[in-house]
């Protein structure tokens, strides 16, 4: 094991040109913006930099970056071998949370040990992607409904556990993630459409079981134009739109966003941090965040594009869909396009577990990007990009590599 780790470290210096560097740069850009605006939104300039929130935020970024570097060292094969264990571990944590909720009642989303807190639902998002990618590795075309059902069960279990906390918004992110993965894995159009219809019907049937505040968010979204916005969802979005719009093309300037500063914008350092960016940096700031996120997500998809191994490809697709959808949903909430969800903006919002797990996910993608999969090729090629593009390739690691 130690020798293996040593090999990882020696190999780590290679493969950084190209997508890996672009991923790091895009992440750093978003992290920098996040740090600046967590400071502006939560701390304010009076106390000097860093304030309490921004200091905590930077510590978590540091932990995340260390995690990213460590994970990027690990070969994708090794990562894959841990998928099931990782998935099982996160399920255990989610079950423990539910048991704790049974004793304490209320909303329980965190596991706290001493001063350290962690949200298992964030870890479950990554573990679900990895285990589904592992399940789809044999190249199943998902022609049989039984295969499809088994696969969706793998996603439904963490979905149900997370939704029971309750944390429906985090659970719902699994839907586009898994959908993108099975789509890329080759599911038929008809099956995809059928699954979508079933999902819509189930969503409608689950309305009575939704907590009141979640129902109110949806109702407020539908009544967004009305004056009587007395529910948190409607008020928050209205204030977000005002803050965002008042920034104009170039913004009011850093620390000069009076609307969020005077307390009219709730959750301004996490869910609605995009509004703070819009108020203080204007359209320039928001578009730069959009572009930064798009670059990150498209780079991950590019890794998927060039990856030969099904596991690596599907993990990349899943993580790209997850990060991309979460970012789009958060931004769409702040501009009033979708109901309030409570999803943070990846790499920007204040929130430790989200930052760390997103960086870990990027670390996994970097690992995949750095190591074009070892394939057994008819011409004896051991490494590198195979010109064979359309046949499913089984990757076998040679004894020398092992």
């Amino acid at each position: 094991m130690i020798q293996e780790v040593g090999n990882w470290f020696r190999d780590w210096r290679s493969g950084w040109a190209g997508p890996a560097s672009l991923l790091v740069l895009a992440s750093l850009w978003l992290l920098l913006i996040g740090t600046i605006f967590v400071y502006s939104a939560a701390d304010g300039p009076e106390g000097g930099f860093p304030g309490a929130y921004s200091e905590s935020h930077m510590k978590k970024i540091l932990v995340g970056i260390v995690g990213l570097l460590i994970v990027s060292m690990i070969p994708p094969k090794r990562i894959e071998s841990f998928s099931v264990l990782f998935y099982g571990g996160t399920l255990v944590l989610l079950v423990l949370l539910l048991v704790w909720k049974g004793f304490e009642g209320g909303v329980v989303r965190w596991i706290r040990i001493g001063g350290f807190g962690m949200q298992p639902s964030e870890l479950a998002k990554i573990s679900t992607v990895m285990v589904i990618a592992t399940a789809l590795r044999p190249g199943k075309k998902l022609q049989r409904w039984s295969d499809l059902i088994k696969l969706t069960l793998v996603a439904v279990i963490p979905f149900a556990l997370i939704a029971s906390q309750p944390d429906l918004s985090t659970a719902l992110i699994l839907v586009p993630t898994v959908a993108a993965m099975i789509w890329v894995a080759g599911i038929e159009w008809k099956k995809m459409a059928t699954l979508s219809m079933i999902l819509i019907v189930l969503a409608g049937m689950s309305w009575p079981t939704m907590p009141n505040y979640q129902q109110q968010r949806i109702i407020s979204y539908l009544e967004i134009g009305s004056v009587a916005q007395d529910f948190a969802g409607g008020y928050q979005v209205t204030q977000s739109i005002i803050a965002m719009g008042s920034g104009g093309p170039t913004g009011k300037g850093l620390h000069l966003g009076s609307h969020h500063d005077l307390g009219y914008l709730p959750e301004d350092h996490n869910d609605f941090i995009f509004s703070v960016i819009g108020e203080e940096w204007g359209l320039v700031g928001t578009i730069s965040v959009l572009i930064g996120t798009l670059v990150l997500v498209l780079t991950i998809l590019g890794v998927a594009w060039s990856c030969r191994d099904p596991f690596g490809r599907l993990v990349s697709v899943g993580l790209a869909a997850q990060i991309g959808c979460q970012a789009c949903i958060n931004q769409a909430v702040t501009v009033g396009l979708v109901p309030v969800t409570g999803l943070p903006l990846p790499l920007i919002s204040y929130g430790g577990t989200s930052i760390v797990t997103t960086l870990l996910a990027i670390g996994i993608v970097i690992s995949i990007a750095r190591k074009p999969i070892e394939v057994v090729h008819p011409d004896g090629l051991q490494k590198g990009v195979s010109p064979v593009q359309h046949r499913p390739i089984r990757a076998r690691v040679s004894k020398q590599q092992a």
Binding site: D230, L262, T293, L294
Partner: protein, 699 residues
Amino acid sequence: MQRPRIMAVAVLLILMTVGIGWRLVQLQAVEWRDHALRASSVHRSIRYSAAPRGQIVDAFGVSLARDTPVIRATFLLSELEPVRWVARRLAPILRGSDRAFPWDEMELWTSLQMARARLRPQFGAGTDLPQHPWMSRLDLVSGSKVAKAVDSRPEDFPGISAVRSGDEFTVYFDPDVLFAGEIAIRRMEQELALEPGHLWARVEEAYQRVQDSSIDIQEREWIFRRQLHPLHEKIPAQLVVEISTDPQRWPGIHLEEAHDREHPQDPFLGQLLGHTGLPTAAIVKGWKSRHEPVIDRLVLRDLRVFKALRPFAHHSADRVGRSGLESVLEDRLSGIPGAEVRILDHLRRKVGAPLDVAQPIAGKDVVLALDVELSRWCAQTLTSRQVELGAVVILDVSDGSAIGWASLPQQGMEVYRDRDLYRSRSESPDGWFHDRVSGWAIDPGSTFKTVVALTALQAGVVDSEEIIVCEGLLDPRRPGRNRCGNHPYGLELNMTSALSRSCNVYFYTMGQRLGLEALVDGAVQLGLWSGSGCSIASESVGIRPTTNPVGTAIGRGFTTTPLQMARVALSIASRGETPGIQLIAGESGTALHPSFDIRHYETVIDGMVSAVRDRGGTASRSSYRLSEFDLAVKTGTVQIPGTQSYNAWLIGFSPVVDPQIAFAISAQGVPLHGGEACAPMLADILQWLEQHRGLELRR
């Protein structure tokens, strides 16, 4: 096959991003001016309503303490004036200018503050102030930047304008806009006829706390951006109308419905009732230790959290009981706060109806057993005889209700509004802050002989017929000590006559026979040196005797309160089982269960009756007018050392056979003995009771 599908996912994500980007362009490029105006305008506000405190009334419903609604003015620092914002926004615009101007935010702010100080004498003069040049000869580049910023966002630079002259710019400020907050507050000082600077000093104090780096940054943020600081109570109606209808002239000033605590009988019963005030740091600390939230520290978005917390929440501007009954009964008197969610426009006027309202719930009323009219008469009786320090307490024998209660000197709420008065009275030896009925213990003098008599008879150290001859001193070998001058020498006295004539030698002898421990035990049975069990703040239990049973037997060397001596009289009147004292109607204090034989009570009562009816009794003089009444009394006199003044006492009950009232009167620092000072006052009180309350107290 997978690559086209990956492409489809990418296209979908790009389309979503483009959709969001389009919406951002719409908000931030097309509609941004509308939103900028709305950002400085419509917003939701939650206004907190303090709950009215419960009333305190007497047994006949006469109000002793009640809340009256007032309008209170508060201020929010961040809204009060935009000086700091203007400096902060201009600093980055001016940075890099090639002129020697102060470009730093702090220096810009300081220069505005200096300009303010120069213009201050003109604030509140009632005339509009002209535009004032601030930065002149500003270079073209910087001046253009300022002009452009001000033109595009005038709401961010209130009162600022940049005027070009040739190749230079001059930046002006309009004092009426930039310093609108201070001008408004100084105008308020004039309207309220207050000393100039009286209200502005509170703003300065709040600013200083914001700049105090020893205070936590989160706390400073709160002080600047969210806390509504008290400005002035009881804003007159005309000013309320003016501020409400034209809030632009009064930026940062908020009006709140509040309650002022009024004591209609003030200063009467002032010490007993106590006072209310804003919570002290100790009180707030107590709340926090009991995990009771301070509601105005929470950033509320709606009333859900508020409704859940309000039964045990507080507001830092609530009035709380700080002394007396107001403090002891705080849990009962304090109500449950209310709040409403409302939409305000940019002029801070309400838009539409409140979105959600939680009505405040008033505190519970407290009914005292007191008869205020009787109590007033008791106080008048004391003052009409030039008594400046004294107490009267009258108890209903049937249930222990405290129907009469008077304490001199009287002190009302004025002491809490005048710092000099408060200081001088705090340092005075006259105990202004103590209620003399329950909180000021002194030597009871010969009134204690009733206790000694009961104890001695019960202990069997004397019987009712034993005769002791009083030659005027206890021990002839020590003629200077333990003397008796209350009656002619050589009298043969039994218990009844000894009580009637208040013979010291007789009771010295009882003291010697009983010993200190037995004396104290007997007195404790009658309620001395223990609390009444009523809700009385700062009740004194007095000091027990520790030496000299001889002196103790005549009521010297220890202290008791008039309330405790009234309880002794109540116990004698009840002939045994004694009801607890009721200060609050329906709530009894600690009952007494003394173990004295009823025969002994009758012997003591005979002595007390004889004091009124028989010649030589200490309260029998015709000028006292007590012999008309059917009552039993015991007088007491204690000379104040080093003076010719006395603490005069009288305790007793009436009528004798079926008593209705028990009483204790204490006139302190008077030139008269117990009977002389207190007996005529008692006659006045008994007469009043007959005339106004229909009691039959005459023989």
